[in-house]
């Protein structure tokens, strides 16, 4: 029961290196999508149900409701009294959890393969039959407030990150934290949770992903019997989020705190995602992030770590988003160097990249590693299931995923230059974490 951000590593078809991922898909009559990714190496199966709604669908004034409901989904139904499923799952050594992002909410179990049916029956039941009491809701709200305290408020870097995110997405709901603002969580109750639940937890809004030791046709039959029995109550809700205006101003956010002993730089640019970008744009941003700050051969590492003595710096592009995506640059300055000085040095490195371009062998090495990481990710059925689930929730198709490796390999120096211009200082938010004066 955690919130999580989308992860970067993706499994790939990895042409030439291995057989393509054998993915089978189907849609039930009630609109529920099914994806099966066989991996027969061990008798283990991962069962996930993804809903195409996340914190960005939280109604105004109710930030955190998607995540809160994710917690409440473990509170039982008439058929499965509280704890009953968790106890049965524990008895077979299975694992379960759930996570919420701005764009999706997902529930999963990892079990020995013969218990797939048991997971489906439970997940199908709680899609529509959740039972909540005021007492259960109140106690779980305290848990979420403690989670917010632990993951954000007790950590100045977490508070700064929240403020930077809010500034980078001034109108779009991605500017609100997934876990919600404290004062809004405090006002969430049973009625709000159930209204949200009834609106979004429907078969046509859901994607079933099964990865591991399973036969696709058998999964389709099982799902048709279990999930197919759910009435197609309403059409999937539309996802019309408020969009941000074009950004023309740099914003600097400073947090000084007595708890801070190590200053940090957190810089964020809202950039196109795999869904909103022009063809190839997201892939160019992905290669660019690797070239700038993906590993110890990157431009930032050479110039700012080996050169300036900054202690660490990373660039990360999270391209799997329904609307605009995030490009993060996080750095730890050397002792005696202020975060804004490091920020200016980042701009200097970006300018150098714009002027000089990247060496052909550096681009080739970045592509090699990005593609290989995707192949390595295929070692994990959980990573495969997550990648397909989150991509589909963010509006991509299986065909988009199949084309990914070719598109990465086709990224040109010109496309990298175009992507670099999206990191212009005037479009970004710079967060500075500082020691108390």
């Amino acid at each position: 029961m955690t919130q999580s951000l989308t992860r970067q590593t993706r499994p790939s078809p990895a042409q030439g290196e291995a057989d393509p991922v054998a993915v089978a898909t189907r849609r039930l009559e009630n609109g529920m999508d099914i994806v099966v990714i066989p991996d027969r190496r061990s008798p283990i199966v991962t069962h996930m149900v993804w809903y195409r709604n996340g914190a960005a669908e939280d109604p105004m004034g109710q930030s955190g409701i998607a995540h809160f409901l994710e917690h409440l989904m473990f509170k039982g139904t008439e058929r499965y009294p509280p704890r009953q499923f968790s106890d049965r799952l524990a008895a077979i050594g299975g694992q379960e959890n759930a996570f919420t992002s701005h764009d999706f909410t997902a529930y999963f179990q990892r079990v020995p393969a013969p218990y797939l049916t048991m997971c489906m029956e439970y997940e199908a039941d709680r899609m529509t039959n959740l039972v909540l009491s005021d007492a259960v809701v109140a106690s779980e709200r305290d848990v979420v407030l403690a989670e917010r305290g632990m993951s954000c408020e007790a950590d100045p870097a977490g508070l700064l990150e929240e403020a930077v995110q809010a500034a980078a997405f001034p109108a779009h709901p991605s500017g609100r934290p997934v876990i919600g603002w404290r004062h809004e969580i405090e006002a969430l109750g049973r009625a709000e949770a159930l209204a949200y639940y009834r609106r979004y937890y429907t078969p046509s809004n859901a994607i079933l992903v099964v990865a591991g030791d399973a036969d696709p046709e058998a999964v389709f039959d099982m799902a048709a019997r279990i999930y197919g029995a759910k009435a197609a109550a309403v059409a999937a809700p539309l996802r019309g989020r408020v969009q941000d205006p074009p950004v023309r101003t740099h914003r600097a956010i400073t947090l000084r705190d007595a708890q801070v002993q190590q200053p940090l730089l957190q810089r964020l640019h809202a950039v196109p995602s795999s869904r909103t970008g022009a063809p190839g744009e997201a892939e160019a941003l992905e290669v660019l992030a690797f070239l700038l700050g993906g590993d110890e051969t990157s431009l930032f590492h050479e110039r700012l770590v080996r050169g300036l003595g900054c202690t660490s710096i990373h660039a990360v592009y999270w391209g799997t988003a329904y609307d605009q995506a995030s490009f993060h640059i996080h750095g730890t300055p050397a002792a005696g160097i202020a975060p804004d000085v490091l920020d200016r040095a980042v701009d200097g490195a970006l300018l150098a990249a714009q002027t000089d371009g990247f060496a052909a062998e550096d681009i080739a090495r970045a592509k090699t590693q990005i593609v290989a990481r995707a192949l390595y990710a295929r070692d994990s059925q959980v990573q495969l299931a997550e990648w397909y689930g989150m991509s589909l929730c963010c509006g991509l198709s299986i065909a988009d995923l199949d084309a990914w490796q070719d598109t990465i390999e086709a990224v040109t120096p010109e496309a990298l230059g175009h992507a670099l211009r999206m990191l212009d200082r005037q479009t970004g938010v710079s967060g500075y974490l500082l020691e108390a004066a």
Binding site: R41, A90, A91, M118, A146, L264, S312, R365, V371, R373
Partner: protein, 427 residues
């Protein structure tokens, strides 16, 4: 609910899948061969680790680990990293309390280059002064960031208070006093005593035959010197029954608690694992989860584990709670330990715990890295591959009498060493 599957049909022998490989040069490894994907994962490590840092110089092993990928032989740091990247080789090292571990992942077709580069990094790392200074600055920055976090402060305090005169009491990553004291001589000396064939353990998973692996092992490891680490002195967590509060500005309090545990080789060790599972193990089923989180909403996370070290075992647990409820949360935790001591575990609870622990073991076999880590852990524990099958038999054999005896031996009077960081009320 379909529970009609015969669980016996699920049982596979994992031990039978493990090959013991010895290279032409005499380097031995366990191999779990699987050619489904054209990749190879290796976990390896050298017995020793942070517990062997010189006195006053905690963090030496950690700096050595960080420096091993900063250039070797005629390749400077950038060139070494580029060589790894050109072949998509992933190589990293980390210092743990009792071992310095490495992780290597490569495409099968690049395995020769991967093991060649690994060999260079182990035999002939550059360890330049410039890189050392940079790595030290980065380590100090991490320590300063961590010192702002209540969880880190409370955990560090638990080990420092619990092991005042033993290497287990020192932070693996070093601190702001010890890191600046470390010299190149310290790092080189540790490398020479630690990175030896006698300290080495290796587990490999993936697309490689035993014969091919033998050649690869020799190219990376055969030229390492001999020499084995002497065993660490044994020890037990001290100051049990005492509380230490580390005051720091934060809306939340992190609480750690501990007691000495039973040694790995103790006949009640498995029973103690089962008993700990009932108290604070697993995800959503433990007594602590139900009482501290579910029934009272006092926390998001609460857990307990048994940390089996060569020099002794420690029962260890933690939670984080709003400051104003810290006293209440600790009271519930101590109450649950006391209830366990007084009432023991019932037959149903015991069976459920055994059933979880045996069933979940198989879930470790879903990725190459997970399998490699599991095998490597067994090698460091001095187990045989047969343990992969034997472990579940031992857990299944734990009786109510065993559990009662383990509770008595593990929890005794129920007293705990407690450390807390934050601005707790009621402690």
């Amino acid at each position: 609910m379909n529970l009609s599957v015969d669980p016996a049909a699920m049982v596979r022998s994992y031990a039978d899948r493990v090959q013991r490989v010895t290279s032409p040069g005499g380097v031995s490894a366990w191999l779990f061969e699987d050619h489904t994907l054209p990749i190879l994962s290796m976990g390896f490590g050298f017995r020793g680790g942070a517990a062997r840092d010189p006195a006053g110089k905690a963090g030496t092993a950690r700096m050595l680990a960080d420096l091993l990928t900063e250039g070797a032989s005629n390749l400077d740091g950038s060139a070494f990293r580029r060589a790894l990247g050109d072949s998509a080789v992933q190589l990293s090292f980390s210092a743990q309390t009792e071992s310095l571990r490495g992780s290597l992942r490569t495409l099968a077709r690049n395995a020769n280059q991967a093991f060649h580069l690994l060999g260079l990094s182990l035999r002939d790392p550059l360890l330049t002064q410039t890189d050392q200074d940079r790595i030290r600055d980065a380590a100090c920055a991490q320590v300063r960031s961590a010192q702002a976090q209540t969880d880190h402060v409370a955990m560090t305090a638990l080990f420092a208070q619990g092991f005042p005169d033993h290497p287990y009491g020192r932070p693996t990553g070093g601190d702001l006093t010890s890191l600046p004291a470390i010299t190149r001589t310290d790092i080189v000396a540790l490398k020479e005593t630690l990175l030896t064939r006698d300290n080495l353990e290796i587990a490999v998973v993936g697309a490689v035959s035993a014969d091919a692996l033998g050649q690869l092992l020799d190219s990376a490891f055969v030229e390492l010197p001999g020499g084995a680490m002497p065993p660490l002195p044994s020890c037990a967590l001290a100051h049990v029954g005492e509380r230490f509060v580390m005051s720091m500005p934060s809306p939340q309090t992190a609480i750690y608690f501990g007691r000495p545990g039973l040694p790995r080789a103790d006949e009640d060790a498995m029973a103690s694992v089962v008993v700990n599972h009932c108290l604070g193990g697993g995800a959503f089923s433990s007594r602590l989860f139900r009482e501290v989180r579910e029934a009272r909403g006092l926390c998001y996370s609460v857990w307990s584990i048994l940390r089996f070290n060569d020099g002794g075992t420690t029962f260890l647990g933690a939670t984080a709670t709003p400051n104003e409820r810290a006293g209440e949360a600790l009271g519930v935790i101590q109450g649950e330990v006391a209830r366990l001591v007084q009432e023991g575990v019932g037959a149903d609870e015991l069976e459920a715990a055994k059933s979880y622990l045996t069933g979940s073991y198989g879930l470790n076999f879903d990725t190459s890295r997970s399998i490699a880590n599991l095998l490597l852990g067994l090698k460091f524990d001095g187990r045989d591959p047969s343990w992969l099958d034997e472990r579940n038999r031992r857990i299944a054999a734990v009786t109510e009498a065993d559990a009662a005896r383990a509770i008595e031996r593990l929890f005794g009077d129920g007293a705990l060493l407690v450390t807390a960081a934050g601005e707790p009320a009621g402690l």
